[in-house]
Symmetry: C2
Subunit: 215 residues, 2 copies
């Protein structure tokens, strides 16, 4: 049995953040597939025994069950002494960009992509426009930051990069963003992340097939 | 001159999280009003010299400039040894609920309220319904958690409570939620937070007047 178990599914960008972390740390880990699309994480049993937030991913390690990718990655970073901060100022900076990601980037891009390709009914254009406007603003902030330094929080990769990268490696038609054309700094940063030992795109990292909702 | 300066404005729930923290820590602090509605935080000068994320609040202390309420409050919690974690497990739990708040609660309630009462044009009902659905789900999670324990992350108040409480103390017509009727555990938790020494509602804590967009 592997030392770390990550409950996840390939379509979850939040799960991808932690799967990528486990891979980058060369952890002894296995993926346990979550049947998200049949509602596994929203059922009472999951909420009562695994995660009251009703979300993926969940990490099991040494009797602990951790949820929220940001928590899992902070834990793994300390455990493996990888991709973390080395002093208090760095720790605040890593936290700052992880919070920015949760608030403005993944917290919006996740639902945007979900409505775009995974929901059985076509999304309302007003909702998509609203979310797109917020994403344009968030990507503009990230683009400026990545023009100043090679990685999001520090001059080396950290868990803040994995957080901001949760959704950007999904197929282009899921996201409707052309990073290469519109965000050259983000695009170059993505290329740098691909060099991390252990990096793979989400659908190769976790169980689950690419699919599109039939409408 | 006060030891701590918080750049803030009364309408910002994210700024309120840090103003409340400073008050609860009995810090020597002063509020510096941000002219948000005339675009101060979105101007190039603000982005270049104060906060590249284009957001409030910003804390100045001892030559440092900190942004993101979650970062500011983690810093203050360590500085004053108040409302923080006492061991690694507690620290992860405080972080977990702070991330949940950024992702699912304040990250959605902030824009919802902004569209509801602060934008010059009336919001699209489809957008409001979308955000309301996400908020109902987030408040349901919080309601269950606060039925199990008196505070969000631990059995005592922490900065995770201040995070989740960023927007809930604004006037009811700004939020369109009736916590007393629909979320009795959240309502009881709000009453407990009001007992914190230094607690005041947002419009009494920070400079700025209550207003409603004229439509």
């Amino acid at each position: 049995m592997a030392e770390f178990k990550l409950h996840c599914f390939a379509q979850s960008g939040n799960a991808y953040k932690s799967a990528l972390m486990l891979a980058c740390c060369e952890a002894d880990w296995e993926a346990v597939w979550i049947d998200f699309f049949n509602g596994q994480t929203r059922k009472a049993e999951w909420r009562d025994t695994v995660n009251e937030m009703g979300e993926a991913p969940v990490l099991e390690h040494g009797g602990k069950k951790l949820t929220q990718s940001g928590v899992i990655n902070a834990y793994l970073s300390k455990h493996f002494k990888k991709l973390g901060a080395e002093n208090d100022d760095e720790e605040l900076e890593v936290l700052r960009w992880t919070l920015f990601d949760n608030h403005k980037l993944s917290g919006v891009l996740g639902p945007y992509r979900f409505l775009n390709v995974l929901m059985p009914t076509a999304p309302d254009p007003a909702v998509m426009n609203f979310l797109k406007g917020r994403l344009d603003a968030a990507f503009a902030v990230l683009e400026v930051q990545l023009g100043r330094q090679p990685f999001v929080a520090l001059d080396r990769p950290t868990i803040a990069d994995l957080s901001c990268a949760g959704y950007v490696f999904y197929p282009a038609d899921e996201l409707n963003f052309d990073f290469k054309a519109d965000y050259p700094n983000i695009s170059a940063w993505m290329d740098r992340l691909k060099e991390l030992p252990g990096w793979k795109p989400p659908y190769e990292m976790m169980p689950g097939e690419i699919f599109r909702a039939q409408r």
